[in-house]
Structures are given as C-alpha cells and as structure tokens.
Amino acid sequence: MRLSNKSKEILAGPFSKNNPVIVQMLGICSALAVTSKLEPSIVMGISVTVVVAFANVIISLLRNTIPNRIRIIVQLVVVAALVTIVSEVLKAFAFDVNKQLSVFVGLIITNCILMGRLEAFALGNGPWESFLDGLGNGLGYGIILVIIGFFRELFGSGTLLGYQVVPDVFYQWGYVNNGLMILPPMALIVVAVIIWVHRSKNKDLQEN
C-alpha cells in the first residue's frame, strides 16, 4: 500500500518538525515520570500510540454526530474506555512493567497530546488521516521517551532493559552510577539537551 504525499506528511511530521514533546511541549509530565528506565518508556510510548491512534479514529467517525457543546465529554469517554483497555492488557501480559508505570497508565487520559490531537485534528478530518496522525504523534512521543529512557537508564543504573551494559571493570576503577539521572530533574535536563540538539539542526524552529 502506498501513502499519498499528504498522508506521509501527516504521519512523519510529528517525528521531527512537529514533535509533540520537543516542539509543542506537550506530555512533558509523563515524559519525566516514567523514563527512569528504558522498558517502561517503550511500553508507555506504545500505550500512548495505541490510545491516541484509535481515539482519533473513533472521534473522527463520530465527528459529524457529536453535538459541539458536549464534545469534550464524548472525547473523554472514548479515551477513558481505550485507556482502560490498554491498562487491562498491560496488567494481563506485562504485570511488572504495569507496576512500574503505576498511575501513569491511567493518567494517559490526561495527556495533553490526546486532547490536543482530538480537538485539533480528529474533529476536522477523516478516519484514515486521523489514524495516521494519531500514529505519528504517538510514535513521535514514544521516540523522545525512548531516547530519554535510554540515557537515564544507561547513566543512572548502568543497565539497558535490565541487562548490565557498563562493564564490571569500570566499577572496579571507581565508576559510580549517577544517582541524579534516576531523579526527575535530570529528565528535564535530558529533554532540554534533546531540544537543544534538535533546534540547532532545524534553524527554522529557533525562536528569538
């Protein structure tokens, strides 16, 4: 199946030029909270992608029947239902990760990316475009989470996905894991560094 140029733009835009986290500054809260390890970051990225993609499709299908004045409530119901499904699936098949993510799976419902995409895109576009948009934004969010989680787990715990990657001989030489990487402030600084690198590559995004 080939995507038209417009669809490609919808899908790929959120990866870089229109990234929800580092350009639109949405979903920062969960990006700080769940990224101390790589595994929960990946799971969180996938969960948000699934929720935002399907919520987009459903709202897009309903967009002509929802009365304008109660649209937020309808959106919330749809999102809440999807989040509950994701949460139950995680509990059933990835219980440990679900425990690490704790309330943040439930809090996907308050993730600004979701309401933002529903309001800004799904209410005005067809189901297929909405699906691509949701997929793109969810993955754009997930990429950032994975990058943050990668650096935080590598420097904070010396492991990746739970496997030790910093060799033992480093520890014998006196290397110590950086405890600050585990704490939320460092996630903000890692996000800042990602934004720094990203902006220096994309001059048109720089603000004065």
């Binding site: 290397y175 950086n178 405890g179 990487m181 600084i189």
Partner: protein, 403 residues
C-alpha cells in the same frame, strides 16, 4: 612590567584573525586582560568608569578565600595524622594537605576554564572571568576524598547547564559552585555524605602512610547531631575523630572534620573582613544570614525535642558550611538580591531555610547549600517587590504633595 607588556605586544598579531595561533585567541585575550587593565575603553564623550572591573573584583574574592584555603589544607593534613595517630610536625601536616587539595583545584580549573575558553572561542566572545572564583570555591566545598572524575563531571555539568546556557558570567540564576556541589550531592550521595569521606585516611603521593587508630570515626559534628538519639538531649557532645569532646572554641578555630574550606569560622571571618573592606560583598546580606540562622535556631531551641533542635544558636552558626555559605555564597553579586532592602530579606530567609532543612530533614545534615540555591530562585522576585513597593511609596508621597 614593561618587558611583559612589550612581549605581549610582540606576540599579539599571532592571535589575530588569520594569525597562525588564531584558535587560541580567547586564551590570549583572557591572559592579557588578566595581567593588564583592558585597553578597549571608551575614548570620547562623558563616561564614568570604575577602575575596578570584573576581573579585579574576582581577584579580591580569591584573596579573601586564601585564608580558608590554606587553613583547609592544613586541616586536611591535621585530620589525617590525627586519624592514623602520628605527628609529623607542622610542615609535613601542611604538605600532606596541600598535596591532597591541589589535584582537586587543578581539576576544577582545567575543566571549568577549558569549557569557558572553548565556548568563548566558538561564539567569538571574550572569555568570561567568572570561573576564576567558582574554580576555587568548588574545591573548598567538597569533601577531600571526592574522586577527581566526579569533580570533573560535576564542574562540566555546572558550567554548561548553570552558566553557559543562561548566557555566561553575570547571567546565571544559580551560584555555579553550589550547582556543582548539588550535582555531586544528588548524583553520588555516598561520596558526599556519611562518615567515610570527610577525613582522608589513605596516602597522598606516597606520604602519610599508616593505619587508622581504633578509636577513629570520621563523622562531622553535624553528622553526629543528625544520628544522635533523643535521650541525648542536654548531654550531647560533638566529638573529634578520636572521640575527644569538641568545645565551642574548637568549632570556631575549625580543626574538625568537614568539607575542605568550610570548617574554620576564623579563617572565613578574615575573608569576610577582606570582602567588606574592598567593598566586594554586602554586609547586609552576610549579617542577615547570620541573624536569620540564629533566630530560627533559637525558635527551635524552645521546642527542643531532638538533639538537632537543642543545639544552641551560636553553635549552629559555627557548624558545617553555614559561615562559609553566608560569607562567600550568599553574597555572590550575580545571584543574590540586588536591591538594598532585598538583601536583608534574601539573607534572612537563607538563614531561616538553612536551619530548618538542617533540623527537620534527617536526609540532609547540612541545609546551607539547598537554602542558598532555593533563595537564588527567589532573588528576582524579592527585587521586584522591593522596587514595586518603592514606586508605590513615592507615588503616594507625590500625590500627597500635590493635594
């Protein structure tokens, strides 16, 4: 002096744009203005220049830090030989401490200045002189046994994220040296607290060999206060590394375990005198930090349900990094409040917060660092309200005159 000037003039063209050493331009300019007052001053019109520029101000602070630094070196050796039960004489004691502290100073300067020079060269700016002071403050506020690579990482972090990203010297919101310490404290807590790090028990470049004596314990007085149980109220006595009781006088002189430069209130007060005499630091900030600390400690004395609460206000001011922070950190002209009334508020709240953190949070035996960083954030707010209230008062006065 003349010969030096001539030499500098001779080699100067090499560093100009297109010269063979152009990549070291910022280094040359930095050294030139460090040695001689800059020649790039305005030549016409009405301008008033203070003959003391930023580099000269920084030099005054460094001179003020020398007593604390020398005493810290001596104390490092003193604590070491006390711990291994030997007495090599005054000079060997100092040499041991000197050799132990020197690498830390070297690492802090090389990393910090390296980043500053690189950034200056890259952005084609003059090098900022601010790190001259930060580079000497950093060694003074860390435990002597901190691994050098940790200091390098923390210094790099602080210079990049607390200073350069905000625009360099004079634009930083937080005190750079304290950010270095905060980074170390949260990233490597085991190297920054506890009773293993404040007294160097190993050898330094092969000298000072010996096993620690049995009675040795490296806990700082503040560390002892934090772990003391509440039945010791009234009978608590801070002890030195061999278990001998410490008097208030000992705390004042400062031959006690602690971060390198913070122990001696006497040496710090000499530094304070130099700062006040040269007009670099504000007595208002210093005084109000001490007043705030004493006031809060006195309030806690009234409750007195733990040992930390029952320590007398005077001892609280002598212990840990309180005096050092009050004299050298709180008065930092960039990060403290700038209005005159604001300085009182700023200093007072630092004193209050330092004692509150020290007493109420068992995880942080010393609260000075966090208190100053916290108030750094609020300094612009304090200034804003002082200015606003001043405007209001004067408007009222003007209105009263007109009617």
């Amino acid at each position: 002096m003349k010969a030096l000037r001539n030499y500098l003039d001779k080699i100067k063209p090499n560093f100009a744009e297109g010269g063979k050493l152009a990549m070291l331009r910022s280094l040359f300019e930095g050294m030139e203005t460090f040695l001689f007052v800059s020649n790039d001053t305005s030549k016409s019109g009405v301008h008033i220049h203070d003959s003391i520029d930023a580099k000269r101000t920084m030099t005054a602070v460094i001179i003020a830090l020398v007593p604390a630094l020398l005493f810290g070196m001596y104390n490092t050796g003193y604590q070491h030989y006390l711990a291994i039960g030997a007495d090599p004489g005054y000079w060997m004691t100092f040499v041991y401490g000197f050799l132990a502290v020197l690498p830390i100073i070297a690492v802090s300067y090389i990393v910090g200045l390296g980043i500053e020079f690189t950034v200056a060269q890259w952005k084609k700016e003059e090098i900022h002189e601010g790190f001259l002071v930060s580079g000497i403050l950093i060694p003074l506020i860390v435990p002597v046994d901190t691994p050098l690579w940790m200091i390098a990482v923390a210094t790099a972090f602080a210079v990049i994220f607390a200073k350069e990203v905000f625009g360099g010297t004079g634009y930083n919101i937080f005190n750079v040296a304290l950010i270095t310490r905060a980074f170390l404290f949260f990233a490597y807590p085991s190297a920054m607290s506890g009773d293993q790090v404040f007294v160097r028990t190993g050898t330094t470049f092969g000298i000072g060999e010996g096993a620690t004596v049995d009675a040795f314990s490296g806990a700082t007085p503040l560390g002892q206060i934090t772990i003391a149980s509440s039945d010791q109220i009234g009978s608590f006595q801070a002890v030195d590394v061999l278990g001998h009781p410490l008097s208030t006088w000992d705390l004042f002189i400062g031959l006690i375990p602690g971060s390198i430069g913070e122990t001696s209130v006497l040496a710090i007060l000499i530094g304070a005198a130099i700062l006040l005499f040269t007009g670099v630091a504000s007595w208002k900030t210093m005084l109000s930090v001490f007043v705030g600390g004493a006031f809060t400690a006195a309030l806690f004395n009234l409750a007195g349900t733990t040992v930390a609460m029952s320590v007398s206000p005077f001892d609280h001011l002598l212990l840990g990094g309180f005096a050092f922070g009050a004299v050298f950190m709180a008065t930092d002209p960039v990060t403290s409040a700038r209005t005159e009334t604001g300085k009182y508020i700023f200093g007072f709240l630092i004193g209050v917060m330092a004692i509150v953190i020290r007493i109420l949070n068992p995880g942080y035996p010393e609260g000075m660092m966090l208190a100053i960083l916290l108030m750094n954030i609020f300094a612009p707010l304090i200034d804003y309200y002082v200015v606003e209230s001043n405007i209001k008062r004067r408007l009222k006065r003007a209105a009263a005159k007109q009617s």
